[in-house]
């Protein structure tokens, strides 16, 4: 029987490593070969599965795009195929005009900007307080907010509308953005991430007489930047697509947003919807989200599933501390300079 020499590593008693020559039988070689082949096949299957799953995610978007450039006659057949006989780019212009995009686009931008611009003034301090401060009723308040998150928005819509209409908040920007300013999702997300920041950093900052505001803004927020970006993107997507809330809380057209207008393209009472225009409208409404996702998807991935470059939440503790201390030193330097300047 032909033998083959291979290298292996064994541990000697004196704890020094030395190569040991072992021999493999034909059977063992065959097993290794089969194992390799199985691994190779599994890899192929894995890729095929990934491609399949990927296609199921991509297909609806591609189909939506294909429908958006079809003629009316072609679109009403509602074919699931991706072939286009005649390309009708003018559908986009017609959808823009019919859904009065120029009017509603401004409202969508205003709505998203108001929420994104104002909510961090409320949710970051609230999250900091829940994560790092001790006060009476903290647990109860947190549970209460969690309960609010568990209830579907539709379930509380009637009482919410009742109070809003009593307070004169219906059909106003204030009423529209108010609940988003205290988003439990945001508070929860930031609280959990604030909690993962090592206590050493906070304590060293406290020793140096840093105030809560300084710790929160100068140390903690920069340390969870990917989470911040992720939350920013998620909030943008959710507000940009917000349909039911906007529809309920507005009466006049001066505040209604794009999803409401695009839905209007479907028409009411069973009339044949102009699918080509509906899809063109959807693509136009989706475009900003896609752009933002492309720009921010790396940060989102990092925050969602972690990554080598992330230096928080169970990551490299030493570097976290270093970064925290550096931020603190920078801040204290600046403060001492300011003090000197003021004294002069």
């Amino acid at each position: 029987m032909e033998l083959e020499k291979v290298f292996d590593v064994t541990v000697e008693e004196d704890h020094s490593y030395a190569p040991v020559i072992t021999t493999l039988t034909d059977r063992q070689k065959r097993i290794i070969k089969i194992r390799k082949r199985i691994k190779y096949c599994l890899k192929i299957i894995n890729y095929l599965l990934l491609i399949g799953v990927g296609l199921t995610f991509v297909y609806p978007f591609v189909w939506m795009f294909v429908m958006s450039v079809r003629s009316y006659d072609e679109s009403i057949l509602f074919s699931g195929g991706l072939w286009v006989n005649e390309w009708h780019w003018e559908n986009y212009v017609e959808a823009w005009n019919r859904a009065q995009f120029s009017k509603y686009l401004g409202n969508s931008i205003t709505y998203a900007a108001l929420v994104l611009g104002l909510q961090y003034f409320f949710i970051v301090p609230a999250a900091y307080a829940f994560a790092r401060m001790e006060f009476k009723g903290k647990g109860f308040l947190f549970q209460l907010k969690q309960l609010g998150m568990m209830l579907p928005g539709e379930a509380t819509l009637i009482p919410v509308y009742f109070f809003y209409s009593k307070l004169g908040l219906v059909d106003t920007w204030t009423g529209l953005v108010l609940p988003s300013l205290f988003s439990m999702f945001g508070i929860y997300m930031f609280t959990n991430n604030f909690k993962t920041i090592p206590q050493d950093i906070i304590e060293s900052a406290l020793i140096d007489k840093a105030k809560n505001r300084q710790i929160m803004l100068r140390i903690m927020v920069p340390m969870i930047f990917p989470v911040f970006v992720t939350h920013f993107l998620l909030t943008f997507i959710s507000n940009w697509n917000s349909y039911y809330w906007v529809l309920v809380m507005t009466n006049s057209e001066k505040l209604k947003t794009l999803p409401v207008a695009v839905k209007g393209l479907l028409k009411a009472d069973g009339i044949l919807p102009p699918w080509h225009l509906v899809m063109a409208g959807n693509i136009m409404q989706l475009a900003p989200i896609l752009i933002m996702y492309i720009l921010g998807n790396q940060q989102m991935k990092r925050a969602m599933i972690g990554g080598r470059k992330i230096k928080f939440a169970g990551g490299d503790k030493e570097s976290l501390i270093k970064r925290g201390v550096k931020a603190l030193v920078r801040k204290l330097n600046r403060t001492s300079k300011e003090v000197i300047f003021k004294e002069r």
Binding site: Y72, D73, I76, L77, F78, R98, A99, Q100, F140, L157, I158, P159, V160, Y161, F162, S165, K166, V170, Y244, L247, V248, N251, S252, E253, K256, V260, A261, K263, G264, L265, L266, K267, A268, D269, G270, I271, L272
Partner: protein, 477 residues
């Protein structure tokens, strides 16, 4: 510990309160919904414009501002406002329209707005929701004269009556009918009746369940994907009322589904698929959407649809083709559901309600606006622009209507079918649970098509009856 006990106590008290509230019911029992011409002494709001200063009122439409229904209503409101400003510069009425984008959203808002007192003066409400607002609206017989009410088609009046109250003015009306590709159906060599022919001699009309099936079969070539008929599912109301029996009692609290009439209807609708007259509607989740396209492209001979789609279909098959210098795709027509032995056209839609929790001045302003909308010229204008059926006879006499009928005769023909109301003294049921029951019935009845049309009919019938009975029982109060 004390805190927990406190919360538990509050929770228990709240539960008890809910239980007490739910025990309290409506003391009044209603056998039916009443008769519009005898239950009410006519005493109406003044017909004069009696205001000392401008009045502003709100009108909620369930449509979207960007669809044809909403934009037409917005135009009409603007016309009214303009007319008021010119006619009464110091005491005009200004209507603020608001487009809610759907009945469900609007109902949700109104449920909260009514107790808060922030509801509008008028709202467009779907027929299935009339019963919800019966206590919050003024009887329309305080707004319109006897003659004006007599002018409304009987079927539309019936769906606007609930618990002896004329709840809503029927303004957004539609009927279910068969849209016909006459070119394709006549190519079978069989006679295809016209609405006029049917209405001239209803009792002896050849347009029966059996004849229609023969015609659909003759037009079908299943191997080529061509079918005589397309439908999203069986026609619920027509299946029973054409046999002279109802599905529910008048207030929609009891069902009459599981009987020999139901069995006959179920067997008939299943045989249409088994014998290749129509495509099985449960095979494709997008069936309802696809058949609309299939009809427009000429692979379906008849299509069971709402009259509100007539305008769009006509534009697609005829108007747009002619405008681009082509021949119309085919000749279009409408027909009622075939008789067995009676004809019946299910009439439904939405109406306008006037809320009773506003000041007298605001209610009078709302009344004036509604009367303006109801006037024949305005009614015809709205109908011809949107595809809803005109609900009054006088609207169909206007120049706007007759001119439009010259171009598109389909709406006019659909309106001629409005005389096909229930027979044997039956009335269209109206009740709180009707819409929900209809929804579930239309889902459960499709059981006749599952398992390749092999399920036991009696079993499906029983399932439908049990489900509908449960819905009616749990949602009627």
């Amino acid at each position: 510990m004390r805190l927990k006990r406190k919360y538990l106590l509050i929770f228990l008290v709240s539960l008890s309160l809910f239980a007490l509230v739910s025990c309290g019911g409506d003391d009044e029992e209603y056998e039916g919904n009443g008769e519009i011409y005898v239950d009410k002494k006519w005493d109406i709001y003044p017909t004069t414009h009696d205001f000392t200063k401008p009045v502003e009122i709100n009108f909620w439409s369930a449509n979207s501002a960007v669809d044809i229904h909403g934009s037409t209503m917005a135009d009409m409101v603007e016309m009214f406002n303009e007319y008021q400003r010119k006619t009464y510069p110091d005491s005009y009425i200004k209507v603020n329209p608001s487009f809610q984008g759907g009945y469900i959203v609007q109902n949700t808002k109104l449920q909260a707005a009514i107790p808060a007192g922030t509801n509008p003066e008028l709202a467009m409400v779907g027929v299935s929701s009339f019963s919800i607002y019966v206590d919050n609206v003024i009887d329309q017989r305080q707004i319109f004269t006897y003659d004006q009410i007599r002018d409304i088609y009987e079927g539309f009046l019936q769906f606007a009556m609930y618990r002896n109250k004329f709840v809503a003015y029927p303004y957004f009306a539609a009927t279910n009918l068969l849209v016909v590709n006459r070119t394709m159906m006549e190519a079978t060599g069989m006679h295809v009746p016209t609405p006029d022919e049917i209405l001239a001699d209803r009792e002896n009309s050849i347009w029966t369940w059996d004849y229609a099936k023969q015609l659909w079969k003759a037009a079908s070539k299943p191997e080529e994907g061509i079918y005589g008929l397309a439908s999203g599912g069986p026609a619920l109301y027509e299946a029973y009322y054409t046999q002279g029996v109802p599905i529910y009692n008048e207030t929609a609290t009891e069902q009459y589904i599981n009987n020999e009439y139901g069995k006959r209807a179920f067997e008939y609708w299943r045989s249409l698929v088994v014998e290749g007259c129509m495509l099985n509607p449960v095979l494709d989740p997008n069936h309802g959407t696809k058949i609309q396209g299939a009809f427009s492209t000429g692979t379906v001979g008849m299509y069971f649809a709402s009259s509100s789609s007539l305008k769009t279909i006509f534009e697609n098959v005829y108007e747009n083709q002619v405008a681009s210098g082509n021949e119309p795709l085919f000749e279009l027509d409408v027909l009622p559901h075939p008789r067995n032995p009676y004809f019946y056209s299910n009439q439904s839609g939405g109406g306008i309600i006037v809320f009773n929790n506003k000041s007298d001045v605001k209610i009078r302003a709302a009344v004036e606006f509604l009367r303006w909308l109801q006037a024949p010229e305005q009614s015809a204008y709205y109908s011809t622009r949107t595809g809803y059926l005109a609900t009054t006879r006088s609207a169909t006499q206007t120049k706007t209507w007759t001119d439009y009928a010259q171009i598109n005769p389909l709406l006019d023909r659909a309106i001629s079918l409005m005389v096909l109301t229930p027979v044997n003294g039956l009335k269209i049921p109206i009740g709180r649970a009707k819409a929900l029951a209809d929804d579930d019935f239309s889902k459960y009845i499709k059981g006749i098509y599952y398992d390749d049309c092999t399920r036991n009919i009696d079993e499906v019938l029983r399932e439908c009856a049990e489900r509908v009975a449960y819905i009616l029982e749990s949602n009627s109060w």
